[in-house]
């Protein structure tokens, strides 16, 4: 595998934000989720749960609810505004004030023509969805007390609204309330407290299911307005409900971190009558489950503990397939760490600030596996707080460590950094084309800045001492409107590769400043790419864990790549559930490709034979115990190390030492607020 001096970095205090709400688009199989800091993330479930898009948050934007209308995504929050997002340019499109105080919930009818929002002042406001905008239509009968949750009947004729202590059913035509369902309060001390109907679901057979703060899931008859069943699920709150599309299964998320499933079953085999029966309980969270989505095959849950959990329903999937594995998505599927290879600096991206660290040094020598004494401790050089309300969407540090750039949805900022004298100067005059960027990237000699903007185009700007000059705009021929999420310049300065969420990878020739070629489009989204400086081969790793090597000179897949595709990857490699987020090369050995995901890093040695399906994939420990002569026979191309876990970045510095940035999940857990008190047996 080779031996490296490893900088084991654990001083990146990355803290993800709690999940607040989610919305599933069944047609595009995309899940939108919003976090407490207002950041919006879009996961493509069809493509291996890959985090396709991220829209950074904004200070003070407290989103409470999300709603898809066709391909359009709306959110509403406690600031009283409804926002539609531009998913192509990854920014809010427009914001409409609802004038009803804080908005608790937003819901669209199944036809996608109307939006209903529930406001603090007790009104349900109906907005008409028009081309490119929404327009206020009318208020339904105003109620006393806030509207916490809303659900449309699939026919669109009725709306059920969860409130304090009751549920109201409105006729959507007339706007009058037709039923009032009183929800019982909790027993004991909570008797005096109002019960909050946190979530409500209106089924097509006019059954209404509600989850409330007394821990009950109640099933109501929507025709008569009577209570059918009460299931006491928890001592705390039932915060979220979600029903499967065929309305045969319902999940309820609670403050205890459990998700309880209810199924619509007939008590006697072969009979038609069915009833809602409480079945399974999943416990995958330590804190409140705030958001839930029920896909056809899985339950997706998220909450205060910041993790997105995809729990497959084993009765809906085949056993031992990729769908049947449970997934926990704890880290973003993109790089938050940028490494200046030459200067030995690390840039950490936080939502509202940036940190530049110089890594420690050691001159000790030791056996493999020893930890060396640190001569110089790592130190934080710069902490840069952003101006304005918008959070950072991308950032970059030049390889020489002299330039620092970041972008929000509204502006790009470029700084000149002098590490020796510890000075930072803002480059005030930027070309006007460079107003915001999806991705930023410096060329290896730090003379150019690349910024991807709308329509997958890339702006090239030249940097000299204290100046930034616009050079060219590189445009792909495909005319894709999707944003670029990966941008990588080659070490030798000849090539620039850009991948967008349409799964296209464009390679530009930097000397000619024009499109060199487009890699044949593969069905899965690229998660990492890099160009080998010695061979000019482009290595692309996709969300379904496939690896392709594309020769830029020949404009075709390389021999190795063909062999790999022909033989197929090892099944254990394909079963990994986190995407490869970074690819680098070993300058000393061009056949080595270094890549990593959250739980391992791997060096692919292209000179060694590929592993057969029967060979042991994770064989580094066994190899070590074998004598030198035998190692050759047993070694294969994939050399995998699991010594480091929860990796955010693995990169090779110029002095041939490896930087490994870890963020142990336990540290994230320890920073979370205390969960609700639960009686544990024998405590």
């Amino acid at each position: 595998m080779g031996e490296f001096k490893v900088h084991r970095v654990r001083f990146f205090d990355y803290m993800p934000s709690a999940i607040r709400a989610m919305a599933l688009n069944r047609f595009t199989e995309r899940l939108a989720l919003v976090r407490a800091d207002g950041a919006l993330e879009i996961f493509c479930f069809a493509d291996n749960y890959f985090q396709e898009k991220v829209i950074p948050g904004q200070e003070g934007r407290a989103v409470e609810a999300l709603c898809w209308v066709g391909q359009r995504l709306f959110s509403a929050g406690l600031n009283g505004e409804i926002t539609e997002y531009d998913l192509e340019n990854l920014r809010p499109l427009y914001t409409v004030e609802a004038y009803g105080g804080p908005i608790w919930t937003i819901s669209s009818n199944s036809q996608g023509t109307l939006l209903a929002v529930g406001c603090e002042d007790g009104t349900v406001k109906i907005f008409e969805v028009l081309e490119g905008r929404i327009q206020f239509q009318r208020n339904l009968d105003r109620q006393k007390g806030r509207i916490i949750s809303l659900s449309w009947h699939p026919s669109g004729a009725q709306i059920a609204a969860g409130m304090m202590d009751m549920i109201r059913i409105f006729d959507a035509e007339t706007g009058h309330a037709t039923h009032r369902l009183l929800v019982e309060r909790g027993v004991g001390a909570s008797k005096s407290k109002e019960v909050v109907v946190w979530s409500i679901v209106f089924l097509s057979d006019h059954t209404i299911i509600s989850g409330d703060s007394a821990g009950k899931v109640q099933i109501w008859d929507g025709f008569t307005g009577t209570l059918v069943r009460t299931h006491l699920v928890t001592k705390w709150d039932v915060l979220a409900l979600s029903v499967s599309h065929d309305e045969s299964s319902l999940v309820a998320g609670t403050s205890e971190g459990t998700v309880t499933q209810f199924q619509f079953l007939s008590p006697n085999v072969g009979q038609q009558e069915k009833e809602w029966v409480r079945t399974r309980t999943f416990k995958n969270h330590s804190h409140d489950v705030r958001a839930l989505a029920h896909t056809d095959i899985a339950v997706v849950s998220g909450g205060m503990d910041t993790q997105l959990v995809v729990r497959p329903l084993l009765d809906k999937v085949e056993k031992n397939t990729r769908e049947s594995a449970q997934r926990k998505i704890a880290f973003p599927h993109r790089n938050l760490v940028c490494c200046a290879k030459k200067a030995g600096l690390l840039l950490f991206q936080f939502p509202d600030h940036l940190e530049v660290w110089r890594i420690g040094e050691s001159d000790g020598q030791g056996k493999p596996g020893d930890s060396l004494p640190v001569k110089r401790n790592p130190e934080k050089l710069v902490q840069l707080k952003i101006k304005g309300k918008d959070h950072i969407c991308c950032s970059a540090l030049s390889p020489c460590g002299g330039w620092l750039a970041y972008s929000t949805v509204s502006s790009v900022r470029l700084y000149r950094l002098q590490c020796d004298s510890l000075s930072i100067t803002k480059i005030s005059r930027l070309p006007k084309e460079l107003c915001w960027a999806h991705q930023l990237c410096f060329s290896s000699d730090s003379s150019k800045l690349f910024a991807s903007v709308s329509n997958s185009s890339v702006i090239v700007a030249a940097l000299n001492q204290l100046e930034c000059k616009y050079l060219h705009t590189l445009k792909p021929k495909s005319g894709s409107r999707q944003p670029v999420h990966l941008l990588q310049a080659s070490e030798d300065g000849k090539w620039l590769a850009a991948a967008n969420t349409d799964c296209e990878v464009h390679v530009y020739d930097l000397s000619k400043l024009k499109l060199h070629c487009t890699v044949p489009v593969y069905s899965s989204c690229p998660t990492a790419l890099a160009i080998n400086p010695t061979t000019s081969n482009l290595v692309v790793v996709h969300a379904d864990q496939q690896i392709f090597e594309y020769s830029l000179r020949q404009k075709e897949y390389t021999e190795w790549s063909r062999k790999l595709q022909k033989q197929g990857l090892h099944f254990l490699w394909l079963e990994r559930d986190t995407p490869i987020t970074n690819v680098t090369f070993n300058p000393k050995n061009s056949a080595h490709i270094i890549l990593h995901d959250t739980f391992m890093f791997c060096i692919i040695d292209q000179s060694l034979p590929l592993p057969e399906s029967k060979t042991v994939l994770f064989n580094q420990m066994t190899l070590r115990s074998l004598p030198e002569a035998e190692r050759k026979q047993h070694s294969h191309a994939f050399k995998i190390s699991k010594n480091y876990q929860h990796l955010l970045c693995v990169n090779l510095l110029e002095d041939h030492s490896l930087v490994v940035v870890e963020r142990p999940l336990l540290e994230i857990m320890s920073q979370l607020p205390a969960p609700v008190r639960q009686k544990k047996f024998a405590t």
């Binding site: 079953l265 008590p267 029966v277 009765d315």
Partner: protein, 836 residues
């Protein structure tokens, strides 16, 4: 040596009643449970055993009400037969010979004429694998039916009866084994199998322990080793099945049972709490805690009014509507081992041994009933596996039964041994033992033996304990000098040691003048009066295992066994070895009422018994292979009344009876032929008196008898007229199995006939008594008698003639006359027919 045919080793009482799930009859009046080789019928209200259903020759492994006839019950046994009983009368109706050991039996109302049994895989009686087979019962009237046809239902099942259960209406059967649940649908002839992973993330064990099906809905409840209960639904799909999980038990769920309406689910486990889950509302549950010991089985009466739970301490608790324990049927409590010796309480003549944890139990051997438990440890017992708790390890009574000494110990891994010696005085007022003295840490190490000085005349009571710490201590009862309000208490009188060897056994001579203590290979003899070492006896080689003084005429002998398979007999007058013989004696025991000694020898995996007198060279009695394995606990229990057997072989059983425990904790004893015959006869007689159940026939007959008694109060019981001839017919009627009886119309006339005869008899008697009476009057009399006897069943209170007359006011004179004539005709004809 000659095998003695007439002395047999028999099970006598104390068999397990918690082995299998008990059965409550439809009317909730009886509780049936498998107990050893018989089925016991208990009354649910009085807790008394009404009778035993005897007939199996091996362990009974299942009891099941016949679904089509609620007055009949199936029982199955390892002996390979299924027997059908009429449990109210205790009559064996049919025997089905299967030919394979049967481990459980199931039946369902839907499968008429079929029952299902679990047998080992065919062709291999010792197989580890079991299968469920269906057996079709033919309608033949034979008493014994050889079953030829076995049809397989399920291939691989567990032998535990709790692992198989019929589903709603008998449409399917659910079976669990290991990590697999199998549901077999009879109509579609299709089986679905569901697997669980060995353990979930938190390390809980998912192995199935029991299964129960909802009686009305398609829901299967399974219990698991980690205490979870899963409710399976939609199990007619191999993929879309689903289950919900209930979790309260912290250890394995040992039994599950739905109530007949399916509204509640009952579960139990080691926590000894009966949990009642509301079906459909599982977060609501009721508890019945403190049931005393781990629950092994739960049964519900068919009407749902009574629950009953079996417990690991051989107890059955009957619970009324999940709130009130209404009756407790307690058998002999048997743990895995008996730490104390078997003892006999000199007062109550009951057997005393370890019972519930921390208790001594007093078990009446004659009545086969637990008398009471004495709490020795007096600490709360915590129901958790793996927890070290105080255990009673030694107990001893003095000769009169007024003192009891107990030793309890607790050994935890980290801490030192905790020992307590407790002395209990018998309190005449409360008729139980009261703690007198507690000596904590009487020795520094385990106590190896303890015995009382068996003097009857001396005022001083003394108990001697020997310990591994190399000392033996004598404890004496002494009145404290200064304080008057305190009674006498026990204190240490003497500490003895011998060359720092470890004492193993101690024994007092019958008169209490000598104490023998064995120190490994050396036997030391002490005088308890002066605590002087009188002599040492040593017979190398081998450490002494048992020590026993001879009794009565043999009191000059001291017997001991050594680890080197020697039985030695020393003469204490000459202080020399009288004789020794080579045998591997595991237990040496002296009969307190005679000179006899018994020695249990372990040979080739079996235990032989020798009964001998120390003074005689020939053994009185020997019995080869009384049981397999080693016998380490035995006791001579004095008889209530002496036997008058003159046979040489059985003479040793005249005064006392020898009980012993086998390695499987079965309590066995020896009986003679005569004794058995006596027992049989008495039980037969008992049966005739008592076996008549409360049937309409009984009402009829009982009234009839009452009436007889009322009418002839003056006649002495000795002169009582023999039971009327007609009652033979009734007896026959009541004792014959229902299915062989002729038609009711025929029976009816028989009954009527029998009644008529009795009336005639009484009439004749009356005639004899009142011969001087007028003929007219006489006829009237007889007529009145007649009327009353016929009307009795409807008017139980009307004994007088007036009442009878008022009941038949409509009869005219002519009719009266006709009737009378008719009767007279009848009588003469019948008496001629029936009188032999």
């Amino acid at each position: 040596m000659v095998e003695h045919g007439e002395i047999r080793v028999v099970h006598r009482g104390g068999s397990k009643i918690n082995f299998r799930q008990p059965v409550i009859t439809n009317d909730s009046r009886f509780l049936l449970c498998a107990s050893g080789q018989c089925v016991k019928v208990f009354s649910t209200s009085t807790e008394e055993c009404i009778h035993d259903l005897r007939g199996h020759t091996d362990l009974v492994t299942g009891v099941l009400l016949k679904p089509s006839n609620h007055l009949q019950v199936y029982s199955c046994s390892v002996d390979g037969t299924v027997k059908l009983w009429d449990f109210t009368d205790g009559i064996l109706i049919k025997t089905y010979v299967i030919g394979y050991p049967i481990y459980s039996i199931r039946a369902s109302a839907k499968h008429e004429g079929v029952f299902f049994v679990v047998i080992p895989k065919k062709g291999d009686k010792r197989s580890e694998f079991f299968q469920l087979v269906a057996i079709h019962t033919s309608l033949s009237g034979d008493q014994i039916v050889e079953v030829q046809e076995l049809s397989d239902v399920l291939g691989d099942v567990s032998s535990d009866p709790a692992a198989i259960h019929f589903g709603k209406g008998g449409e399917y059967i659910a079976s669990v084994k290991g990590l697999q649940l199998e549901v077999y649908f009879f109509r579609k002839n299709k089986a679905f199998r569901f697997y669980l992973k060995e353990s979930d993330k938190k390390g809980g064990k998912n192995t199935f322990t029991c299964v129960s099906c909802h009686p009305k809905e398609d829901c299967i409840a399974t219990g698991h080793e980690d205490g979870k209960i899963r409710l399976w639904r939609n199990f007619n799909h191999s993929k879309e099945y689903t289950y919900s999980t209930l979790h309260w038990h912290h250890n394995a769920v040992s039994s599950l049972c739905f109530t007949p309406e399916g509204t509640n689910l009952l579960s139990g486990g080691i926590e000894s709490v009966l949990v009642q889950w509301r079906y459909d509302q599982e977060s609501q549950r009721d508890f019945l805690p403190r049931l005393g010991a781990a629950i092994t089985h739960i049964a519900v009466s068919p009407d749902g009014a009574l629950f009953c739970t079996s417990h690991s301490d051989n107890k059955i608790t009957i619970i009324q509507s999940c709130v009130k324990v209404s009756a407790v049927i307690q058998g002999l409590v048997k743990g895995d081992s008996v730490r104390t010796d078997l003892l006999v309480d000199p007062r109550s003549k009951s057997l005393v041994l370890n019972g519930k944890p921390g208790h001594l139990q007093f078990y009446s051997l004659q009545r086969d009933k637990l008398l009471y438990n004495l709490d020795i440890v007096q600490q709360e017992y915590i129901h958790e596996s793996g927890l070290q708790q105080f255990e009673v390890v030694k107990a001893a009574f003095d000769a009169s039964g007024s003192w009891l000494a107990t030793v309890e110990e607790r050994k935890q891994k980290v801490t030192e041994l905790e020992l307590n010696l407790k002395l209990w005085a018998f309190d005449e007022q409360t008729q139980s033992f009261v703690l007198n003295t507690t000596i904590s840490a009487p020795h520094e190490d385990r106590i190896t033996a303890m015995c009382f000085c068996h003097t009857t005349d001396s005022e001083t009571s003394m108990v001697v304990s020997t310990s591994r710490d190399g000392h033996f201590k004598a404890w004496q009862l002494a009145t404290p000098a200064n304080s008057e309000d305190e009674g006498p208490s026990w204190s240490c009188d003497f500490v003895g040691a011998y060359h720092s060897l470890v004492p193993e056994c101690c024994c007092f001579s019958a008169d209490g003048s000598l104490l023998a203590v064995s120190f490994q290979e050396v036997v030391t003899v002490w005088s308890p009066a002066s605590w002087e070492l009188l002599t040492t006896l040593s017979q190398p080689p081998g450490a002494i295992r048992n020590l026993c003084f001879g009794r009565l005429s043999c009191s000059k002998y001291l017997l001991g066994t050594t680890a080197n398979n020697l039985l030695c007999c020393w003469n204490l007058l000459t202080c020399s070895l009288e004789w020794s013989t080579s045998m591997d004696v595991s237990l040496l025991l002296a009969d307190p009422l005679s000179e006899n000694m018994s020695a249990f020898c372990c040979q080739a995996g079996n235990t032989d018994l020798f009964v001998f007198k120390p003074s005689e060279p020939r053994p009185l009695f020997s019995h080869k292979a009384i049981c397999s394995g080693k016998v380490t606990r035995a006791v001579f229990a004095p008889r209530e009344e002496m036997l008058e057997s003159c046979d040489e072989n059985s003479q040793w059983l005249n005064r006392s009876q020898l009980y012993f425990l086998t390695q499987y904790m079965d309590l066995m004893t020896f009986t003679t032929k005569a004794e058995e015959d006596h027992l049989m006869a008495s039980s037969k007689q008992h049966e005739i008196d008592d076996s008549v159940a409360m049937t309409p026939f009984y009402l009829l007959l009982g009234k009839h008898r009452q009436q007889e008694n009322q009418e002839k109060p003056s006649s002495l019981s000795a002169e009582r007229t023999p039971v009327p001839q007609g009652s033979v017919a009734i007896k026959e009627l009541l004792q014959t199995p229902a299915h062989v009886l002729p038609s009711t119309s025929f029976l009816c006339s028989m009954v009527v006939q029998s009644l008529l005869i009795s009336v005639k008899d009484s009439r004749e008697e009356n005639k004899q008594a009142e011969e001087e009476m007028e003929s007219e009057k006489e006829e009237e009399d007889s007529e009145e008698e007649m009327e009353s006897s016929i009307l009795k069943p409807t008017q139980p209170e009307s004994a007088g003639a007036e009442a009878a007359e008022s009941a038949v006011p409509a009869l005219t004179k002519a009719q009266h006359r006709d009737l009378r004539r008719l009767k007279k005709l009848d009588h003469s004809w019948l008496s001629g027919l029936l009188d032999p």
